[in-house]
């Protein structure tokens, strides 16, 4: 097995789990789903720089073989942004639950409330 295979399949598993969970009817599961998806996305974004073992992008003269630093910078940015978004969505999910007493997002509770 190659590292590429491991990463690609891990991305796939995380995406599959993320998609499945974010399609659940309650906010917490959805948040879990988003978390899995963001792991997958970060891994993917990282992987597009190709995989490099033991060559961290720390500049040294004469070194020509190094991991692509740019995707790493992008993933860092993405991790931070994802964290902000996760935090907000978690709090919002809680806040909405506190306000309405329901953590469902399938619209069924709303329909009941409306009728």
């Amino acid at each position: 097995m190659s590292l590429e295979f491991l990463i690609a399949s891990a991305i796939g598993a995380l995406v599959a789990g993320g998609v499945y969970l974010s399609l659940r009817a309650r906010t917490f599961q959805v948040v879990l789903g988003l978390t899995l998806l963001s792991y997958a996305v970060n891994l993917f974004l990282f992987a597009v720089g190709r995989l490099t073992v033991d060559r961290p992008p720390l500049y040294a003269k004469g070194v020509a073989d190094y991991a692509d630093p740019l995707p790493q910078a992008l993933v860092l940015t993405a991790i931070v942004i994802t964290f902000g978004m996760t935090a907000l969505s978690v709090v919002l999910a809680l806040r909405s639950f506190l306000e309405s007493g329901s953590d469902q997002v399938d619209g069924i509770a709303d329909e009941e409330a409306e009728s």
């Binding site: 073992v53 033991d54 961290p56 720390l58």
Partner: protein, 89 residues
């Protein structure tokens, strides 16, 4: 010799991780799972140290250090959650 020892060591630690994973999945008590997770963090530190040695690169030690410093926060938080529900009182 070192090379071989390092790879054997890494294999052993990896096996340890696998054992942790088994306990984590199996439980049965919530405490078992938390122990397993906590151990996994410690073993992960070992993995990082070994990777650093294999690569002859001390760049990764901060990751290990950080894990040693904040890794237990998760464990504590899980425990506090079970004990008190509210982790910040």
């Amino acid at each position: 010799m070192i090379e071989v020892a390092l790879h054997i060591a890494l294999g052993a630690v990896a096996l340890a991780l696998l054992l942790n994973g088994w306990r984590l999945l199996k439980g049965p008590a919530i405490g078992d799972r938390i122990v397993a997770l906590d151990t996994m963090v410690i073993n992960a530190i070992a993995v990082i140290v070994l990777i650093g040695m294999i690569g002859g690169n001390d760049t990764y030690f901060e990751a290990a250090l950080l894990l040693a410093m904040v890794g237990f926060v998760g464990t504590i938080a899980y425990c506090k959650f079970i004990l008190r529900g509210d982790i910040v009182e």
